[in-house]
Symmetry: C2
Subunit: 535 residues, 2 copies
């Protein structure tokens, strides 16, 4: 073990080591190597696997750190999150270049993602300072109540305990080592162990070092953060089933997510798993909107479809509309746009292969409308657009599956009743989008009512790609969009995933936590006898 470095490393200085509670540890077993998907070349350095001893050490350190870490003030944790954000930004081109090389994503996108990631950390710092996350409630004693006096009862939320976060392939920064899951868990007061995604180990090490430096600089206990590498499901399962782990955040495939949910449910003490998994994000252009701007919508749809090689959880994989001239114009414009689209590099060879397989499986069950340009470049995504009718769609499992990448399916319906019927039969979704003109108002109202039950976010006259990080965002939705529809993985509400309420009855003043102490020393909003109050 070597002590953590205080200076930002260049990509060349990456060590390929695990980070366990501030110490750098060589992994074991097969080595993991990043691949530049645009060339297929391996990138140095190799990364060793975390083994059972590393899982044990990281979990022990997190459990050890928990009591001290959860006792830090909101202000102290806010400062810590801001230090991580600054450290990320200070990595500058080193981080951006490494992430670009490992992901095949363009510089502009990765640059934006750094800002999104540091912005998320700062959002949770503001959530901590606001204090609403405590869920403070006070029901004062009523000693004279008849027939029985009422005790003094107060409620606040406390963190669940050490959390395991799985880095996602498609957002090497915003949904990875210092992404939304980590930021919200750290804000809640939970130590975090990240299992890095194999696709971007170098990016992960850089970000892991940034967090490790912030832990040291702000005086947090070393076990507050660890970073492990490991391909396959062994390491992840070991982490999720360790009794010291109390919650899990995951963004990835349906099979991966449901496997983690099952592992967590089979523990002697089951724990919550927040898995964001599978969504095809239906788009509903309504009649008047199609009539007045079908062509425009078709073009804009393909721009959203092909953004980032379609590798967004919110990629519009489905268009559902009433057949007719408006939809024809939409389809024609989308066909042209897809045909003219240039293939773009996907994140990993596996993802590119899965995409090609998924597209091939649709050819037959659905009719090809258009394919994007061809290329010999490795791991390229050539966009694909299919069409089918509503009855065929409802009868086919394969047509209702997510194909991760720039593939979408237009479902032609006979009338608006059938559109709503298809909507009502969809599995749970992260998003659903309606395009309307004023004349569509009544139908939009009916459809909105159906879609509320099927999606976490409903958009009008926009495109689902691009998830705003704010207070009102919901990036969630009914199964299989996520494993727990009661929450969101993006936005300030995400902190609630890692908290639980505790009631304090007749606890002596001197022992009360500040959030629920007499005189409201934290100056936060509290629900006193059921009424919100800041005094």
């Amino acid at each position: 073990m070597t002590p953590p470095t205080a200076t930002a490393p260049t990509t060349d200085s990456l060590t390929g080591e695990l980070i366990i509670a501030g110490s750098f540890v060589a992994g074991t077993g097969t080595q993991i190597r990043a691949i530049d998907p645009s060339t297929g070349d391996e990138i140095d350095p190799p990364f060793g696997h975390g083994g059972d001893a590393d899982v044990d050490a990281a979990c022990a350190a997190a459990a050890d750190a928990f009591d001290e870490y959860r006792s830090t003030t909101s202000e102290h944790r806010a400062t810590f999150l801001e230090a991580i954000a600054s450290n990320l930004e200070d990595l500058g081109d080193t981080l951006i270049q490494r992430a670009v090389r490992e992901s095949g994503l363009p510089v502009g996108r990765i640059t934006g993602e750094v800002g999104r990631t540091s912005g998320q950390l700062r959002l949770f710092a503001s959530v901590l300072r606001d204090g609403g996350w405590n869920g403070a409630r006070i029901d004062p004693a009523q000693p004279d109540r008849a027939p029985l006096p009422r005790a003094d009862i107060r409620q606040r939320k406390i963190p669940l305990g050490p959390v395991v976060v799985f880095g996602a392939s498609n957002f090497p920064l915003a949904f990875s080592v210092a992404g939304g899951d980590t930021a919200s868990a750290l804000a809640a007061g939970c130590p975090v162990i990240v299992k890095a995604h194999d696709a971007h180990p170098g990016t992960s090490e850089l970000v892991g070092r940034a967090i490790t430096d912030a832990v040291a600089a702000t005086g947090m206990p070393a076990g507050t953060f660890s970073l492990l590498f490991g391909s396959g499901r062994g390491l992840g399962t070991a982490l999720v089933t360790d009794p010291r782990i109390k919650a899990v955040g995951f963004t990835g495939s349906r099979s991966g997510g449901t496997a983690l949910v099952a592992a967590a449910a089979s523990r002697p003490e089951p724990i919550p798993v927040y898995a964001e998994m599978s969504s095809i994000n239906p788009v509903f252009p309504l009649d008047a909107a199609l009539r007045t701007r079908g062509e425009e919508l078709g073009k804009a749809f393909v721009a959203s479809l092909t953004l980032g090689s379609g590798q967004f959880c919110t990629n519009p994989g489905l268009v559902i509309a009433v057949d007719g001239p408006g939809l024809d114009a939409f389809t024609a414009a989308a066909r042209d746009a897809v045909s003219e689209s240039t293939p773009t590099t996907m994140l990993t060879p596996n993802i590119a292969t899965s995409y090609a397989d998924g597209v091939a499986a649709l050819d037959g069950p659905a009719t090809v409308v258009a394919r994007g340009g061809d290329t010999q470049a490795p791991n390229a995504c050539s966009a694909a657009l299919f069409t089918t009718d509503a009855e065929s769609f409802l009868a086919s499992e394969v047509l209702q599956q997510e194909v991760f990448g720039s593939s979408s399916l237009i479902v032609r319906c006979t009338d608006t009743d059938q559109v709503r019927s298809v909507a009502a039969h969809l599995e749970g979704q992260l998003t659903a989008t309606i395009h309307t003109d004023d004349a569509d108002h009544d139908e939009a109202a009916r459809l909105l009512h159906v879609l509320e039950l099927r999606a976490g976010r409903i958009l009008f006259n926009g495109w689902p790609t691009g998830v705003e990080v704010g207070h009102a965002m919901v990036h969630g939705g009914p199964f299989p969009a996520t494993s727990d529809s009661r929450t969101t993985s993006v936005g300030s509400l995400a902190i609630e995933r890692f908290l639980r309420p505790v009631a304090y009855q007749d606890v002596p003043s001197a022992l009360l936590p500040s959030a629920i102490a007499d005189g409201n020393p934290d100056h936060i909003w509290r629900r006193v006898d059921g009424t919100l109050s800041q005094s």
Copy 2:
């Protein structure tokens, strides 16, 4: 099927029928009969089982009703809950006498429970009128933001869908047909199907009729409420695995709860199960408190232990303290009080048998301190008090199990470190209680810190039996106290179990739900750009 009656039935007019969406339907199969546990006699009428067709009909009606019911205003649902409360109170002696006969609980206790149950319904009416349950958040558009404009994003909570509630044996009213689970699910906008507990079918029918009448009187859709009877696990499993059911509330045994959790998790679409299961509610009298009032505490402890034959989820089944003269005085007083205690009737023959078996299993692994009086009365609970040392306790699984009834175990520790070590090894609990004097302050602070992680409610200088219904109450806790520590089954926060957030992005003003509409027509607190506001 016969139409619902509008007048309160007497016990004699009970029909023993299922209630499916306002219609009375004869059950099939083996008949269920209530038993008067104080005599062992069966009570008329017999109740038929709900079969697969009844489950299907109730689920179909609930699913049908959901869209209309969830669209009712908060004020309308508040009126509905208040109508249920009034109907319950109007049942007067008919309800009280039937519940007393079926439960063996005294009139005073049942009378109080009617008040608790109607009070809970009225609490949720006030929660609806307050409007905070909507979780309304608005992040206004920022059209001029660079580099990208921000959309208008708003968030509110919507109900999950039809909910199945399992009546509990030990609270024939407050945790049964119109209990906290039903009240909070109905408040959230979820239709409810109750599976009545076999122990009090007549009470269940009376309450089911009261709800059915309120459904009709307030113009709610008939499928908002159904009531099924059925012993064994078949009916419950059929309900929980029906795809139209979206959440489950349960209070009962650990084996029953974990079976439901497993059934719900194995569905193609897993759903949340809120199971409140097993808790031994440790009590920690600290040194100074024991020295100054050990005898008084010992007496008060037995009063809590023997209340209601110990048939509370929060019964104090464990006392953990440092050995010495103070604990000796506590134990001597408790021994005398237990010895002098009179056996009382338990809820059912099964519960009485389980209690006797549980007590017998402790005799040997632990040392008997005292037993209550003997009796030939059927289904009686004779209190039992045992003692052991900390090492034996930690080494024994049987000593750490809940024995439902008036049985408790005193664990003698060598010092405060060992007390805290035992506390840290406990499974999750609904409650933990500390008895202190001023001189115990430092140790109380250390112990509080340990107990926060193990219990949903921490009490000082009181007794855990008696769960206040209010805004700050938490009746929950880490597994196995409940299957989901992030919530409570008592108090106003319980409504959140049946809600999930939805984001609305750039939704036209005319289509926005009132909770997040422009101008705040509901006059509720909303989080606007992250800041609470009522304007």
